[in-house]
């Protein structure tokens, strides 16, 4: 609109014939062209910042799971490095380093202002080398090779292995290795993995249930001890019951352990002996092998297969190797559960408050003061809510709940520490201003005439709100709620205080009564990023994982935001034209 106007006003001034008034042109200074360009520059910088950021994150995140070729680098001094080229950068070699180089290289580095390029190789084999990564400067390289028989193995422990297959055994019998595609090889791998999965199910599921049952009995006993004392008849009865139950459970436990032992023994016979590039060998069980591929000898379909199977693992599996590998399923689950719980709390309360402020309260100084305050609360730092959540919800409320309902578990806190419920409530407090403001705006936008029409027809106040006002305000309400979800899903700082952990042993929802465990701590995608990026053994090794998680988190938040926009426009359309 602006520029259109500019044209109409400015154009005649510039296009009038010279003869008319030669001296009455606009002074160049009044155009402010240089200032204008710096304003435009500011906008351009802003756009470049956001786009650059997104490109950086997405290119790294999407590329992480692509299987990269394995390179064997032989250095001039004879050291051999085999691994995936990870990244390259320019660096300044020290004068001592430069002094050892050939004159040719010295010239080249000098021409580059003292910079040389080097590449970081991800070598894997941490159990053998004691390091994952190695920098190789370009000037140190004697030759590159990409041997086709070099394989990439992903293991349950110790990270990746780069090397070749020396031999493998099925049930303790040596087999000839005929490539990764050998049906014998794939079958033994699949069988072993299946058994490992079975072991895991028994240990986590059945044995977990036994432990839980035993725990329940113990706690019941403790409860009786607290209420009736040690010398009471009830206590004796409960003790007997515990003894009989634990006897039964012990039997079941023994049976399960025997089964696990059997599976373990079956797996122990299926081993794989690998050799790294220097010839050192390492024998692992097939059950510890996640995936193997010939990085330098794959067609497109195989590459894609590896790529997507990695994505699937990332989305569906549990993390391993201190969260730097494996999947993030518990974190996705935790994020979703927490956000949903938050919405359940925040939506009704936010709407209720907005209704009160807009429809019920007398519009005066007090209400406008409250409104300003609620607006401001949206700007209160999230960490402050975290502090409040810890102090009030976890310690005070949770502490009271513990001493009232779970005295038998003390001094171990049940609700008296961070957990899913407290995290959701904290975030609900944090996001309730968002819902209130959005709902209020939506309510204000419902025309007075509609309301008056309804009341004039004899509808009660609640009927008016219920059937006339709320449906029309729904788009705004939904937008508010969804924006609150987006904010909640991306927030990390307060969660660090009220229940997020780096590794939760159990999901907050499982098959053990009461199925939803609101007191449990949980994992969260945002915290996962913080944890892997900052607190892992090797920040370099965790970086790819962080990028992928980042992509996932941004995608999630953007998806939720986009949903808000779509919902808003849909609902708006539905009510368009229904206005008086």
């Amino acid at each position: 609109m602006m520029s259109a106007m500019t044209e109409t006003v400015a154009a005649p001034a510039d296009t009038v014939p010279m003869s008319q008034s030669a001296g009455r042109r606009t002074d160049l200074r009044s155009r402010g062209e240089p200032a204008l360009w710096s304003l435009g520059g500011a906008l351009a910088i802003g756009v470049v910042m956001i786009l650059g950021f997104l490109v950086l994150v997405f290119s790294n995140g999407v590329a992480t799971f692509i299987p990269k070729p394995l390179t064997v680098v032989t250095a001039i001094d004879g050291t051999v490095t085999a691994g995936e080229p990870f990244r390259s950068e320019l660096y300044k070699p020290t004068p001592e380093e430069i002094a050892t180089l050939t004159p040719d290289w010295q010239e080249r580095i000098k021409a580059e202002n003292g910079y040389a390029s080097r590449t970081l190789y991800r070598m894997g084999n941490f159990d053998i080398y004691g390091e994952d990564f190695r920098w190789v400067p370009d000037f140190a390289v004697a030759k590159f090779e990409q041997p086709k028989n070099l394989l990439f193995f992903e293991r349950m422990e110790w990270g990746a292995f780069v090397g070749t297959v020396k031999s493998f055994k099925i049930d303790g019998v040596d087999q000839a290795f005929a490539g990764l595609g050998d049906p014998k090889f794939t079958k033994v791998h699949a069988d072993s993995r299946e058994r490992a999965e079975a072991i895991r199910n028994i240990e986590r599921g059945d044995i977990g249930a036994i432990n839980h049952a035993l725990d329940v009995e113990r706690l019941a006993l403790r409860k009786i001890e607290l209420s009736a004392g040690r010398n009471s008849a009830e206590f004796k009865a409960a003790q007997d019951r515990l003894n009989s139950v634990s006897g039964d459970l012990q039997k079941r436990y023994d049976a399960l352990t025997a089964e696990v032992q059997k599976l373990r023994a079956a797996n122990a016979g299926n081993t794989l002996t690998l050799a790294e590039i220097g010839g050192r060998e390492k024998t692992i069980e097939f059950s510890y092998l996640v995936r193997a591929y010939a990085a330098n000898d794959m067609n497109l379909a195989q590459t894609l297969g590896v790529y997507f199977s990695r994505w699937w693992e990332f989305l569906s599996a549990e993390p391993r190797e201190a969260n730097t590998e494996g999947g993030v399923f518990p974190a996705i689950f935790g994020t979703a559960a927490m956000t949903l719980l938050m919405v359940i709390v925040v939506a009704p309360f936010g709407v209720l408050t907005a209704l009160y402020l807009r429809e019920y309260a007398k519009q005066g100084r007090l209400v406008s003061f409250v409104r300003i305050s609620v607006n401001n609360l949206a700007g209160v730092p999230s960490i402050v809510y975290g502090v409040f959540g810890l102090g009030f919800f976890a310690y005070m409320l949770g502490g009271s709940i513990d001493s009232l309902f779970y005295p038998e578990r003390l001094p171990n806190p049940t609700f008296g520490t961070g957990g899913l419920l407290w995290a959701a409530l904290t975030l609900a407090l944090l996001t309730v201003p968002v819902v209130i403001v959005a709902t209020e705006e939506a309510l204000a936008a419902v025309p007075r005439s509609t309301r008056e029409g309804s009341l004039a027809c004899g509808a009660s106040k609640w009927q008016t709100i219920r059937y006339i006002v709320l449906p029309r305000a729904m788009p705004g309400v939904m937008t508010g709620v969804i924006l609150a979800m987006a904010r909640g899903a991306g927030e990390v700082a307060p969660l660090m205080l009220v229940g997020v952990v780096k590794l939760a042993p159990q999901l907050p929802v499982d098959g053990i009564f009461p199925f939803v465990h609101l007191e449990r701590s949980f994992m969260h995608l945002g915290f996962h990023i913080f944890d892997v990026g900052f607190q892992s053994r090797n920040a370099e090794a965790g970086k790819p994982m962080v990028f992928v998680t980042t992509v996932l988190l941004i995608a999630l938040v953007t998806l939720v935001n986009a949903t808000a926009i779509i919902v808003r426009s849909r609902l708006k359309k539905r009510f368009a034209g229904s206005q008086f």
């Binding site: 602006m2 154009a11 510039d14 030669a22 002074d27 160049l28 155009r31 402010g32 062209e33 240089p34 204008l36 360009w37 710096s38 304003l39 435009g40 520059g41 500011a42 351009a44 910088i45 802003g46 756009v47 910042m49 786009l51 320019l90 660096y91 009704p348 209720l352 009160y356 402020l357 300003i372 609620v374 401001n376 700007g379 209160v380 730092p381 999230s382 960490i383 402050v384 975290g386 502090v387 409040f388 009030f392 027809c457 004899g458 009660s460 609640w462 709100i465 059937y467 991306g490 927030e491 990390v492 700082a493 660090m496 205080l497 913080f530 900052f534 962080v546 938040v557 953007t558 935001n561």
Partner: protein, 878 residues
């Protein structure tokens, strides 16, 4: 909806009576629903509002105990006197059940505190010697007796509490209180239904060491235990009646083969003690490397005893004025502070500090660090805490004060209900929850106290505090350390400073970009471009801050560290390049400039940005060579190069602006006819030449100015630039830009957009250019909206947590150095709260930090909101 419509139709009809009358009563269910809804909404609404305001209340409630002093929870006075009288020492066990005192003859007495019932304990066999000196460790567990014959004997007093099963408690106990029972030797306290605590006193007496010549009485002594378990050593210092000070060490060696223990004693004399000195106390540090001999008049002879065979008199100084004599003297835990209380009631704390002006042998001197509130009477007894820095002083006027030296406050003032007892010994319970005093005649006064947070006052949190080992008072945040004697330092000032520093630098970066972008979007691009650009910028706001922090700390920080010169150069090249491109654009003929004035020009700006950004990278080495002597990191350290070029660089924008504006009214006026002239190309070239000339002159001027400034000693190094750290404020400022820019941008763009269209139209119609319209009409009108945008952005920057946690390095330093990190309030909370023990001082301090953040952001946001409301009203009037 339909029913009322029908009935209204009925009203209109001419024969209303014909139809059967419908009930005009509202159905009861409708009324009920209405009532229920009414109440639910009211209660729910008010509840949420109350909850939200409750947050502040709750934070406040947690914080309040920091500032309330200690309280007395009970007191007791025993009318039974402790046998012996004239106590030398008195100690209390951990559970405040027993007290053990030692009388002048060296006999040990134990009694039950609440009732004063004496307990039977086996006596020390001192061999009939006369006690002339007594020494103890801080916890009173290890003591030493000095005798008139010049010998010294070590002893231990162990007050041990063990928990036993109630069934194992012997029968026939005498009940003292509802919980406490005694068999005459030990006290049994019922802990729970089946557990009982047995507290008893065990005494052990060591060998006799002949330290001084036979027959010369020892008048003062102190000792420390050291060495390893296999080779224990005892170091002790004694002063005998002849005024000779001796440093002795006894070392025990156990022969591995025979199991026999041999003890050897070595001694050396302390030099320089004047003849006839009346020694009041001797004190020795834990590592036996310092010995303090204090005479009755408060003169301290401090010895450096690191060379055990040859102790050196390091310092002689008078700690008390005039004829004031020493009332009590003691180390505090950690032996860094020496408390000297005088007969005039004064209580002062001295630190041994390394000072340049010290004229002492070892370069250290005793410095008075804290002057505490004096008693009105002479101080007669003192006891220091075993777990903190608190200590109690008892005065001749019957007052007993609990003090904390660092906060310089008297935490608690106690006085018995009646009488003015002459105290001989006072004791602070090991858990700092009780005070016990014994008077000369053996009367016992006991108080149960609670002193949770003696170390915090408003002054210690927001003012300068002199901590042990620090050369001067300062602002320090250091909440935990490895040693037990460490005193946590809680000053919020460095954290508030960190928050402000992060906010300042990030706004310095964000405001120009956000506002520039907002004005350009609102005034100078086509609305279709705006429809694309604005959501793109707003997308930035939805990026989770943990992601920004991760990218900033792990990706950006190393890049910036390597390319720091290029980053700096870009700050010069990109603005200069944009200006240059603008002047080139002016050379275009009018119609062409107009036709491509919208999107193509914007794209051209992108191109210019890319081009000059690339040039900045290319030119960085040359730039680094000229401005930073070839190595920015070393230059920032102050190792190489001169500060003049950099100072000139900082001064340049200001000089340029001043020059440009002053030229506007003088020189440029004469160029006006060309700039307005018909020949646009000529006008363009003139303008370009004018700009280049101004640039050159400004560069020369600012270099001259920098020479003068640096000559005057104004060096930016050590100030805004200093030692480079990888995770620094520059990185934080940039990353925080991602969080702050979209907020300022969106709100101010909205403000600019709501300026009524007719103002814009009127301005343009009067012949103003879009630029003139923007600067003279639109921006001033939207000013308050823009201001409120900046305030909201600031609120976000103040509270931002994850970015500062990850990218700021978290060092609580107070300097404006862009190349160093910071520790912000929010980051501090995030890092420390999960480790803080509930209701500890740290826990409450972090709540105070949260409250501070809350208050800051609340003020900033309220200000913004008020300005915005005013702005709304004003635009509504336009």
């Amino acid at each position: 909806m339909t029913a009322p419509a029908e009935s209204s139709a009925a009203d209109v009809s001419p024969k209303p009576a014909q139809r059967p009358r419908r009930s005009m009563k509202t159905a009861r269910s409708v009324l009920m629903a209405d009532k229920v809804a009414d109440w639910t909404i009211r209660i729910g609404g008010l509840g949420v509002i109350a909850a939200v305001f409750g947050i502040m209340m709750f934070l406040g409630l947690v914080v309040v105990p920091l500032f309330t002093g200690a309280s007395v929870e009970g007191s007791a006075m025993s009318d039974k006197a402790v046998a012996g009288g004239h106590p030398l020492m008195d100690i209390v066990d951990e559970y405040k059940t027993l007290s053990v005192s030692i009388d002048e003859a060296g006999a040990v007495h134990a009694f039950h505190i609440k009732t004063g019932t004496p307990l039977e304990i086996p006596p020390y066999d001192l061999g009939g010697k006369t006690l002339t000196a007594f020494a103890r460790t801080l916890n009173g567990r290890d003591i030493a007796y000095g005798f008139s014959d010049g010998s010294l004997r070590l002893a231990t007093v162990k007050v041990a509490g063990v928990v036993i099963n109630t069934t194992d408690v012997p029968a026939g106990l005498k009940q003292l209180t509802p919980e406490d029972f005694t068999d005459g030797k030990a006290v049994y306290t019922a802990v729970s239904a089946d557990q009982t605590r047995r507290i008893s006193v065990d005494l052990e007496l060591g060998e006799v060491d002949q330290v001084a010549p036979e027959g010369t009485a020892i008048i003062a002594a102190d000792y420390r235990l050291g060495g390893s378990a296999e080779r224990p050593t005892v170091s002790f210092v004694t002063v005998d009646a002849a005024g000779v000070g001796r440093l002795s060490r006894s070392e025990s060696k156990t022969n591995m083969m025979t199991g026999a223990t041999t003890t050897s004693l070595t001694s050396s004399e302390l030099p320089g003690l004047p003849k006839g000195v009346v020694v009041r106390n001797v004190l020795m540090t834990d590592r036996a490397d310092q010995v303090f001999v204090i005479d009755a008049g408060g003169i301290v002879y401090r010895y450096d005893t690191r060379e055990f065979e040859a102790p050196v008199l390091a310092e002689t100084t008078d700690l008390l004025p005039g004829d004031v004599t020493v009332g009590a003297v003691s180390f505090l835990i950690g032996q860094q502070s020496l408390v000297v209380a005088g007969s005039d009631g004064s209580v002062n704390v001295f630190f041994r500090l390394q000072k340049a002006e010290a004229k002492t042998a070892d370069g250290y001197m005793l410095t008075k660090a804290h002057t505490l509130e004096p008693h009105t009477g002479a101080v007669v007894a003192m006891d220091a805490s075993q777990r903190g820095k608190m200590f109690v002083t008892a005065a001749a006027d019957g007052e007993i004060w609990l003090r904390h030296p660092t906060s310089e406050q008297v935490v608690l003032k106690l006085k018995p209900a009646e009488g003015k007892p002459a105290y001989r010994a006072v004791a602070l319970a090991p858990r700092e929850n009780g005070i016990l005093a014994v008077s000369d005649e053996g009367k016992v006064y006991a108080w149960d106290i609670s002193a949770q947070h003696p170390e915090t006052t408003l002054t210690t949190i927001f003012g300068k505090v002199w901590y042990e080992g620090y050369p001067e008072p300062g602002y320090t945040w250091q909440s935990s350390a490895s040693t037990e004697a460490f005193e946590p330092k809680f000053s919020l000032v460095p954290l508030i400073f960190g928050t402000l520093k992060a906010t300042f630098y990030s706004l310095l970066f964000a405001i120009p970009i956000a506002l520039g972008a907002a004005i350009y979007t609102s005034e100078f691009v086509h609305h279709r471009v705006r429809a694309v650009v604005k959501p793109t910028m707003e997308l930035m706001a939805s990026l989770p801050s943990v992601v920004l922090g991760f990218i900033a700390a792990l990706i950006l920080a190393p890049i910036i560290e390597t390319w720091i010169a290029a980053v700096f150069f870009a700050f010069i090249v990109i603005p200069a390049g944009l200006f240059f491109s603008a002047y080139l654009w002016q050379l275009l003929p009018g119609p062409i400039a107009l036709r491509y004035g919208d999107l193509p020009k914007f794209l051209l700006i992108f191109a210019a940005l890319g081009l000059f950004g690339y040039l900045a990278v290319l030119g960085a080495p040359a730039f680094e060579a000229v401005f930073f002597a070839g190595d920015l990191h070393a230059w920032a350290n102050g190792a190489i190069g001169s500060s003049v070029p950099f100072t000139a660089m900082i001064a340049f924008p200001f000089v340029f602006l001043a020059l440009y504006l002053s030229a506007e009214e003088t020189v440029t006026r004469y160029l006006g006819f060309i700039l307005r002239g018909p020949d646009r190309t000529r006008a363009g070239f003139t303008d370009l030449a004018r700009w280049v000339a101004t640039l050159v002159i400004a560069a020369a001027l600012s270099y001259a100015l920098a020479m003068v400034l640096v000559g005057l000693g104004l060096d930016p190094r050590g100030g805004v630039v200093s030692t480079y750290v990888q995770r620094n404020t520059l990185v934080v400022g940039f990353a925080m830009g991602f969080a702050v820019i979209p907020i300022i941008y969106t709100i101010s763009e909205d403000a600019l957009n709501t300026v009524p269209e007719h103002l814009r139209a009127a301005s343009l119609a009067c012949g103003a250019t879009p630029w003139q319209t923007a600067t003279n009409v639109i921006v001033p009108t939207a000013m308050s909206g823009i201001f409120s945008a900046i305030m909201v952005g600031m609120g976000r920057a103040v509270g931002e947590t994850m970015i500062v946690v990850m990218a700021a390095g978290n060092t609580p330093v107070m300097e404006w150095n862009v190349f160093n990190g910071l520790r912000a309030l929010s980051a501090n909370i995030a890092v420390e709260l999960s480790e803080a023990v509930r209701d500890s001082t740290l826990f409450r301090m972090l709540f105070l930090a949260a409250l501070t953040l809350f208050v800051i952001t609340f003020i900033v946001n309220t200000l913004a909101e008020m300005v915005r409301q005013r702005f709304r009203k004003r635009t509504a009037q336009l």
